[in-house]
Each structure stands twice: as structure tokens, then as C-alpha cells.
């Protein structure tokens, strides 16, 4: 049998046709190398689209009112505190990426625990923020859009905290495969999304619905 390697490639051409031997390839890949990364990115696109439609709906019903806001003004302090806490919680998640890429178990899981703790704090503040909304969703269309947006985003926020909690628990319990570190990376990605996606709504609700 004759064999030769195609110049500039790993492809071996023999009488049976070309072959590539992938025995020595790694068993994980981070970032855009990973299929999971793309999957989570697309899920984030889906959820961003859903929230963007709520944003548009807010502006759409806004045109139907002569006075704005049509209900009592929102209190901004709980909202701003929640938002600051959400942004702060992104720091440990971002820091966890370096040990995660090095597959260093202990620092990775410690930072996840810090992130989860800050996430729970943000959820607590969000509960206070929701309790302080001075009108019911049944009052008018503005109230309906605002409450529904809060509901949708709080589900995202809660889901990201619970997901990270489970991730951290897996890192403490095992057994661990290399792919679990890919999972940590996309958990952090989703965390960034769940927290940052609130910023346009914070501007909309706190400025347009409260401070204006």
C-alpha cells in the first residue's frame, strides 16, 4: 500500500482514499470552538428577542396615553440597588473563566459559589423591587407590560442563579469530565446575559417611568 501526506495538511492519502487520524486531538474546546457555546449563544439570541419585543411593546402602548406614566411613579432605589448587585455579581463569574480555562477545579468552584451568593442577593433585592411597584398589572396596559417584563426577566435571573448553583454543586460532588469546564464557561456566558440584558430596561423603567 502506498501512502503520502498532502502538503500543509494532516491528510494521509492511501490506496483506500484519504484519512485523518484524530486520536491525539483534545477532548474539549472552549469558546467558539465548542458546540455548546454556540448552542447557548443561540438560546441567548432567542431570549433577547423575546425581551426586545417587550421593549417594543412598552413603546407601542406608550403612545396610547396622554399622561405619562399613567400610574404612580416607580421607586428607583430598590431598582438601582438590584441593578448594581446584578452587575457586581458578574465580576466573580468573569474571574472564574481563567481558572476554568486552565481546568483548575478549586478556584473555579470557589468563584462560582461567590457568584451564586451575589446572585441570591440580587434575587432578594429584586423581590423587594417587585414588592415596591406601586400599581397592579390590572391597572392599565403600561402596568401590564411592566409587570410582564419584570416576570420574564426575573425568571431569567432566577434560572441563571439556580443553574450556577447546580454547576457549583457538580464541581463539589463529581465525577467530573473535561466537558464540565465547558459547561462552566457557558454558565458564565448565560450569567452575563441574564444580568446585562436588564440595563436597557433599567434605563426605560427607571428614567422614563420614574424619574422623568
Amino acid at each position: 500500500m502506498t501512502e503520502h501526506v498532502l502538503p500543509g495538511t494532516d491528510i494521509v492519502v492511501s490506496d483506500d482514499g484519504p484519512t485523518i487520524d484524530v486520536t491525539d486531538l483534545p477532548r474539549h474546546g472552549f469558546g467558539r470552538k465548542s458546540a455548546l457555546f454556540w448552542g447557548v449563544l443561540v438560546f441567548i439570541m432567542i431570549e433577547t428577542t423575546a425581551l426586545a419585543i417587550m421593549f417594543g411593546s412598552y413603546l407601542y402602548v406608550r403612545g396610547n396615553f396622554n399622561e405619562w406614566p399613567p400610574s404612580e411613579r416607580l421607586q428607583v432605589t430598590p431598582g438601582i440597588l438590584t441593578t448594581v448587585m446584578m452587575l457586581g455579581s458578574c465580576v466573580p463569574m468573569q474571574l472564574s473563566l481563567k481558572p476554568c480555562h486552565e481546568m483548575a477545579l478549586r478556584p473555579t468552584r470557589r468563584l462560582l459559589v461567590v457568584g451564586v451568593a451575589l446572585g441570591f442577593a440580587a434575587c432578594g433585592l429584586r423581590a423587594w423591587e417587585i414588592a415596591s411597584i406601586p400599581f397592579a398589572w390590572t391597572d392599565n396596559a403600561y402596568a401590564s407590560v411592566l409587570w410582564t417584563t419584570y416576570g420574564m426577566h426575573t425568571i431569567e435571573l432566577g434560572a441563571s442563579v439556580l443553574e450556577t448553583l447546580v454547576m457549583a454543586a457538580v464541581l463539589y460532588r463529581g465525577p467530573l469530565e473535561e466537558k464540565h469546564f465547558e459547561d462552566v464557561e457557558v454558565t458564565a456566558l448565560f450569567w452575563w446575559f441574564a444580568n446585562l440584558v436588564w440595563l436597557p430596561f433599567a434605563a426605560l423603567f427607571y428614567v422614563d417611568g420614574a424619574l422623568r
Binding site: 484519504p18 484524530v22 423575546a50 410582564t148
Partner: protein
């Protein structure tokens, strides 16, 4: 790394794993519900969708019987309202989208030379969710709670004031089921196409159907959330007293129309683009020529997808929108004909002088070319506001969209079913019956729907359950009804042909049509992932040009991951294999969605159950750990 930290294989591994596999192997039911292979899931999607197609088709025949003559009482107005709503909703949400996605789930991994989908368990979850949603809708219908406010469920008719009972809620929750499923498949197809193409299959070597699946998946990602949000708003208005669509409290029924059609118009192209992919594949194979203008065809797909998001308002011309808006959306609606025109000319150029082989798949493509062009032209007519205002809500519109949806999607789908039948079953279908079915369906289709253009121009509105003899619409309606039964007969011949061939057709071999793409490289039916090689390709039409190579060094349940643009090998990932979790998650999700019709607490309690099932799904089991993939550090 320390010596203590090196990976150790859990001792219980072989026994626990073997025990679990033995239990699943022994029970046929468990094996069925834990299946995650893409061929099985894809086939289930297609077969289930065809069953729903038949059920919705039966309702169409019922409606045609009712309208055959003036003043008939085959069904009453209430059942008629449910019939057209069920027909439209089933065709759009339970047939057209799932069947196209099912074809993608089956074919895409084979065409790109992957062993499986990127997220096989997610695809199983998508199937079960879809199936449970379909069963839920039809059980509701059989219990006289079928939705009755039209497939686009406009408020205020569908709102709390005018739609008492739970019929409109059933529709709103059907949307949740089907969109969840469609989105899960879209994510899967995008990740699979981006990351699991065979080495050598750069983006510009992907088969056109794979391109169409990719573009469609992105359309699903941006379109489906709109209808999920809209149906959630509708459900909230009905269940907890929000005012999204209540003008008395600052809401707006037109908000529904905007959000719904922001989904609804791209939806047409979500159904249509995969069908164009079928056409390109079939034309290439049956003319035995590389597709003329591969790049323009791919770019036309992308352009159609982008433009599809910019013309939803043409469904709302009759609501009195500003003139500038009307002009913009008229222009956009006309422009979208251009990329489809480009594809038409490319197919004609490919076929021209090629001496094609006139087998059943190619006949259906010819039926498509002749029929869709008419639907496309009536579409361009309706882009004009004065014509649209005149024919709005008449049978002219019914005729138009059946020309585009049956002509544009069902004809290519029937061609595709005949084309890939040998790959799926390993047997050839009967050519003579293929010709007969195509002739019957084609003649029946035009007999049914062409007269409806004229009925619409004569003023026959949609969704009326009967009409007076003095209208003069009786004869054309009778012709239309005869045509509908001819279509039914044609589809029956398709069914008989495929069923007979499945039992006793001639053996097909790997590549009965001498097709150029990778799916024909594999055995028919294709082997499961453990026995499947990952191919290496060096050309756009690998089976026509150079020998197909193979990748060595993969474990049976390992997938090769390649990079997005050039498909160069990057690393290997483990395929998780069969699991019962997707089935249980779909059960929990279905319970939640149905409970939400009756109480908002359904969401709260459902979320707890879903979170628990998801955690169990994700939790690593010692019996599933693969020694090759263990992390160096263990807790």
C-alpha cells in the same frame, strides 16, 4: 498536577452501566422513549407531522363538503369555526414547521457527514413536547374545546370579552408547545451545522439543503419568540386580567397584529426555504449537473430570510396604516420576489438541455415550478394596497396562500419524500404510482384552488360556513370541492405507494439516484452513530468528484468537532447517548403549560418540577462517565 489529582475511574462503572443498559435494552417501551439517534427522532417528526397533515386534511374535506352547494348543513357554524381554526393551526404549527425540521434532523447530519446532532437529548425533548402539544390540541377539539377564532387568533375576538370558555386558551398554549419544540430544533441544527461538518466541508461546499436548514433555523430563532410573547400576552389578558389588547386601558388590538405577524410572515418562509432546498437537491441529482449559480442560490436564501422580517405589515393594510408605512411595506413585499426569482432562473438554467430523468421526485419539482410561480405572482399583486384592500379576507387570499404553501412547500416535500425514501427504508418506491399520485395531486390542486381566486374576486369572504344560492358561487364551489377530493385521492396513492414499497420494494443500495451529496455515501437505512464513519470531503459534490475519505481515531460514541468556516478538525466531544430525561422533562413541561390554562400557580409549581427534572438530567452519574473524558482533577 499532583499524583493524587490524576483521574480515577469509579469502581462501580462497568456493573452500573451494564445494568442500566440491560434494563433499557430489555424493555421495548423504555428503548423507544429513551431514543436520541437523529434518524429515529427525525423520522418520528416526519411521520407524526404527516399524521397531523392527514387529520387537518380531513377537516379541509369536511369544510369543502359543507361549501360544495349553497345552504348545506353538513356541519353547523360552531363546528365550522373550530374546523377552519384547527385546520390552519394544525397545518402551520403541527405539520409544516415540524415536517421541515424533521427532514433537517434526519438529513443534515448525514449530508454534512456528522454522526449525530450536537444536542441529541434536546432533539428528543423537542419531539416529545411537539407530540404532547399536538395530542393536547386534538383531544381538546374532540372534547368540543377546539379553538374557534382562526389560526391567527385576533383579539378582541380571542380576548376575554368575546371568547368565553377555554378554546382560545387552548390555541395560546398550543403555541407554547410547538414553539418550544421548534426553537430547540433550531438551536440544534445551528450548532450541528456550525460545528460538526466533516473535515473539508467548508461553508461553500455545504449542500444547498443544509444552507436552507441553517438559514431557516436562524429565522426560527428570531421569529418564534414573537409569537410566544404574543400568545403569553393573550393568555395573561384572559387569565389574570392584564390589558395588552384592551383599548379602554391603553392597550391595543393592533399590538397583537404587529407582534403576531412579525412572526407570521417569516413563518411562511420558515416553511418555504427548506422546500427550496429540496428543489435544489433534486434538480441537481436528476439533471446530473452541478447546480447553476450555487452562490447566488445561497445568497438568495439569506436575502429572503432578511427581507422576510421587513414586510409583516402587508397583512395589516386593511387596518388603515400611515401612507409612508404602506409604501414601504408594499416595496418590501415586491422586492422579496427578486431572490426567489433568482433561484427560479438558476433551476431553469440547470435543467435547460440537461435531459433530466423524469422520476417522481423530479415530477413534483416540475409541479412546484408551475404552481408556485402563480402563487408568487398573486402575492406581488397583493403587495399593492388598493388590490389588497379589495381582496382582503376573501377567497382570493385563501387561493393565494394555498398556491404558495402547497405549491411552494408541499409539492417539494412530496418530491423529497420520494427522493429520500430509498435512503430511509433501503427500498425503492414504485415509479408508476409516483407518476399517478403526482398527476392526481397536481390536477386536484389546481381544480380546488384556481376557482377560489375567482370566488374571492366575486366577493366570497373567508370563514363563512354557508352562502345563499343567489350569490352564484355554487358551481365554482362544487368544482373546488371535487378538486379537494382529487388531492385526497392523490395523497392516498402516495401513502399506498410508500407503504407497499416499504414492505416489498426493490432493494435500493446506497445511492440509487447517483446523488452527489454525502447522505448517499452511507448505507440505506443509515447506520447508528456507533457504526458510522466521519467522512472527509474535498469538493462541493463529493460523490461525483473525488474519493470520500474517512476519519480514524474516534471512539464509537465520539463526535468530531470542526471549525465554523473551513471545517478543520478542532477537538472531540462525547455524545451523551440514550436517556429517559428528555421524555420526563417534556412531561413536566406539558403539565405546566396545561395547568397554566386554569391557574397562574401552574407556572410556579410547574417551574419547581421542571427545575428538579433538569437538575436530574444534568447531574453526572458514575454509570455514564467515560474514562477517556475524565477531568484530571476530581473533587
Amino acid at each position: 498536577m499532583t499524583a493524587e489529582a490524576s483521574p480515577t475511574l469509579p469502581r462501580a462503572l462497568p456493573t452500573a452501566k451494564a445494568r442500566r443498559e440491560r434494563v433499557i435494552e430489555r424493555s421495548r417501551v423504555l428503548r423507544f422513549i429513551s431514543e436520541t439517534e437523529h434518524q429515529a427522532i427525525g423520522l418520528r417528526f416526519v411521520v407524526t407531522a404527516l399524521v397531523f397533515f392527514a387529520m387537518a386534511g380531513a377537516l379541509a374535506l369536511l369544510m369543502r363538503l359543507q361549501l360544495a352547494r349553497p345552504g348545506l348543513h353538513v356541519v353547523g357554524p360552531d363546528l365550522y369555526n373550530q374546523a377552519f381554526t384547527m385546520h390552519g393551526s394544525t397545518m402551520m404549527f403541527l405539520f409544516a414547521v415540524p415536517v421541515m425540521q424533521g427532514m433537517g434532523v434526519y438529513l443534515v447530519p448525514l449530508m454534512i457527514g456528522a454522526k449525530s446532532l450536537a444536542f441529541p437529548r434536546l432533539s428528543a425533548f423537542a419531539y416529545w413536547t411537539y407530540l404532547f402539544g399536538g395530542i393536547f390540541l386534538w383531544l381538546s377539539f374532540f372534547m368540543n374545546t377546539g379553538p374557534d377564532v382562526g389560526w391567527f387568533s385576533y383579539p378582541p375576538l380571542a380576548g376575554p370579552e368575546y371568547a368565553a370558555g377555554k378554546r382560545a386558551d387552548v390555541w395560546a398554549q398550543l403555541i407554547t408547545f410547538t414553539e418550544l419544540s421548534a426553537l430547540a430544533i433550531a438551536v440544534n441544527l445551528i450548532a450541528t451545522i456550525f460545528k460538526q461538518r466533516s473535515p473539508g466541508m467548508s461553508l461553500d461546499r455545504m449542500p444547498v439543503f443544509v444552507w436552507a436548514s441553517l438559514v431557516t433555523a436562524f429565522m426560527v430563532v428570531f421569529a418564534m419568540p414573537a409569537v410566544m410573547v404574543a400568545s403569553t400576552m393573550l393568555a395573561l389578558d384572559r387569565l389574570v386580567g392584564t390589558h395588552f389588547f384592551n383599548p379602554a386601558e391603553g392597550g391595543d388590538p393592533l399590538l397583537w397584529q404587529h407582534v403576531f405577524w412579525f412572526f407570521g410572515h417569516p413563518e411562511v418562509y420558515i416553511i418555504f426555504l427548506p422546500a427550496l432546498g429540496f428543489v435544489s437537491e433534486i434538480v441537481t441529482t436528476f439533471t446530473r449537473r452541478p447546480l447553476f449559480g450555487y452562490t447566488p442560490v445561497v445568497l438568495a436564501n439569506v436575502a429572503t430570510a432578511i427581507l422576510a422580517f421587513g414586510l409583516w405589515v402587508h397583512h395589516m393594510f386593511a387596518t388603515g396604516i400611515p401612507q409612508l408605512g404602506a409604501s414601504f411595506f408594499t416595496a418590501a413585499s415586491i422586492v422579496i420576489a427578486v431572490p426567489t426569482g433568482v433561484q427560479f432562473f438558476c433551476w431553469i438554467a440547470t435543467i435547460w438541455g440537461s435531459g433530466p430523468r423524469y422520476a417522481a421526485p423530479f415530477l413534483y419539482v416540475l409541479a412546484f415550478l408551475a404552481t408556485f410561480i402563480i402563487g408568487g405572482l398573486t402575492g406581488v399583486m397583493q403587495a399593492s394596497v388598493p388590490i389588497d384592500t379589495q381582496v382582503h379576507d376573501t377567497f382570493f387570499v385563501v387561493a393565494h396562500f394555498h398556491y404558495t404553501l402547497i405549491g411552494g412547500a408541499v409539492f417539494p416535500l412530496l418530491g423529497a419524500l420520494h427522493y429520500w425514501f430509498p435512503k430511509v427504508t433501503g427500498r425503492l418506491s414504485d415509479e408508476r404510482l409516483g407518476w399517478i399520485s403526482c398527476a392526481l395531486v397536481f390536477a386536484g390542486f389546481h381544480l380546488t384552488f384556481f376557482p377560489q381566486h375567482i370566488l374571492g374576486l366575486h366577493g366570497m369572504t373567508r370563514r363563512i360556513y354557508t352562502y345563499a344560492a343567489t350569490t352564484g358561487w355554487g358551481t365554482l364551489n362544487l368544482v373546488s370541492t371535487i378538486g379537494a377530493f382529487l388531492i385526497g385521492a392523490g395523497l392516498l396513492v402516495v401513502l399506498i405507494n410508500l407503504a407497499r414499497s416499504y414492505r416489498s420494494g426493490m432493494a435500493a443500495g446506497n445511492d440509487p439516484w447517483q446523488g452527489p451529496s454525502l447522505e448517499w455515501h452511507y448505507a440505506s437505512p443509515p447506520p447508528r452513530m456507533e457504526e458510522r464513519d466521519v467522512a472527509i470531503v474535498a469538493a462541493r459534490y463529493p460523490l461525483w468528484t473525488a474519493p470520500v475519505g474517512k476519519v480514524v481515531g474516534l471512539e464509537p460514541r465520539e463526535e468530531l468537532i470542526t471549525n465554523v468556516i473551513d471545517a478543520e478538525p478542532s477537538h472531540k466531544e462525547k455524545n451523551p447517548g440514550p436517556s429517559l430525561s428528555p421524555f420526563f422533562l417534556a412531561l413536566a413541561t406539558s403539565g405546566t403549560i396545561i395547568a397554566c390554562i386554569f391557574t397562574p400557580w401552574g407556572l410556579v409549581w410547574g417551574a419547581v418540577v421542571i427545575a428538579l427534572v433538569l437538575t436530574l438530567w444534568y447531574w453526572p452519574r458514575r454509570s455514564e462517565v467515560d474514562e477517556h473524558h475524565l477531568s484530571e482533577e476530581q473533587p
